[in-house]
């Protein structure tokens, strides 16, 4: 791999199908970057959750709004940006899904899963004024990726 950063960007409609599309696109990038099966699963799940968050909470499922997905592949890591056109939110306002009183909640686990599955995770104010999720996974060191991807974690 060269030291040059590779950049991929796509604008998605606010619809359920965009979740699968985003996951598939990022999985292809992750596989091409050398991530193993387990890391690909974690990356794919995180992208799903990021786009679900944008679809449901950010854009409120309003079809006139867009979801902006970008992937940067550097020499060290894969960085994923998911930007919505909503009003933004603060991580401190997100309830802890592991708290006893929230265990039986039917929603609110997406942020937790992204944090658990990625190496870095943050939410910033995006150029649209909406929330921009920025998350990354370190690339596996050359020659360390096992078939199940344990070397990349």
């Amino acid at each position: 791999m060269t030291l040059e950063t590779k950049h991929l960007e796509i604008t998605l409609e606010t619809q359920v199908e965009s979740v699968n599309l985003a996951e598939e696109m990022c999985l292809r990038v992750a596989e091409a970057a050398g991530f193993g099966e387990d890391d690909c699963y974690r990356i794919g799940m995180s992208v799903r959750e990021g786009v679900i968050n944008a679809f449901h909470y950010g854009n409120q499922e309003r079809p006139e709004k867009k979801i902006h997905l970008a992937v940067d592949l550097t020499a060290e890591k894969m960085i994923i940006h998911v930007l919505d056109e909503g009003g933004g939110f603060r991580l401190t306002d997100v309830p802890d899904p592991l708290a006893e009183e929230n265990l039986l909640s039917t929603s609110g686990r997406g942020i937790f899963l992204m944090r658990a599955f990625m190496d870095e995770f943050e939410v910033v104010e995006g150029r649209t004024g909406g929330a921009e999720i920025v998350m990354s996974k370190k690339l596996p060191a050359p020659g360390t990726t096992s078939p199940n991807g344990q070397g990349g974690t």
Binding site: V16, E17, V19, N20, Y41, M45, R48, E49, I52, P97, L98, L103, L104, S105, T106, S107, R109, G110, F112, L113, A116
Partner: protein, 114 residues
């Protein structure tokens, strides 16, 4: 991969065999429809066989929880059977492993409803 579901009765217990992914959209909707349909038919002892479900996202988890509380609210019980590693790991990190009764053997699971 789309979610598919079939169900069979084992005495008072209904076993639902799922295969595919339980994710936002059709997968979650089918899970909801299946559980609500069983409750409408007064089948309140439900065992979900997830042996062929290798992927659940937060929407699917939410639907599992919703089904669990709906069944409990009607005086029944909803339990899980044959979790794949990915699904088991997901339930463990979300602490839902402490909420659901999970079994690795169907006959043991069926006896637990008695």
């Amino acid at each position: 991969m789309f979610l598919r579901a079939t169900h069979r009765d084992a005495g008072q217990v209904t076993v639902v065999d799922f295969s595919g992914r339980i994710t936002l959209g059709d997968g979650s909707a089918l899970l909801r429809k299946m559980i609500r349909g069983l409750l409408d038919d007064q089948r309140k002892q439900i065992l979900l066989n997830l042996a062929d479900v290798d992927y659940i996202d937060s929407s699917g988890i939410g639907e599992l929880v919703s089904g669990y509380t709906a069944v409990k609210g009607r005086g029944g019980d909803l339990k899980l059977l044959h979790l794949t590693k990915k699904v088991r790991d997901l339930l463990q990190i979300t602490k839902l492993f402490t909420v659901f009764d999970v079994y690795t053997d169907e006959s043991t699971a069926l006896r637990s409803f008695q």
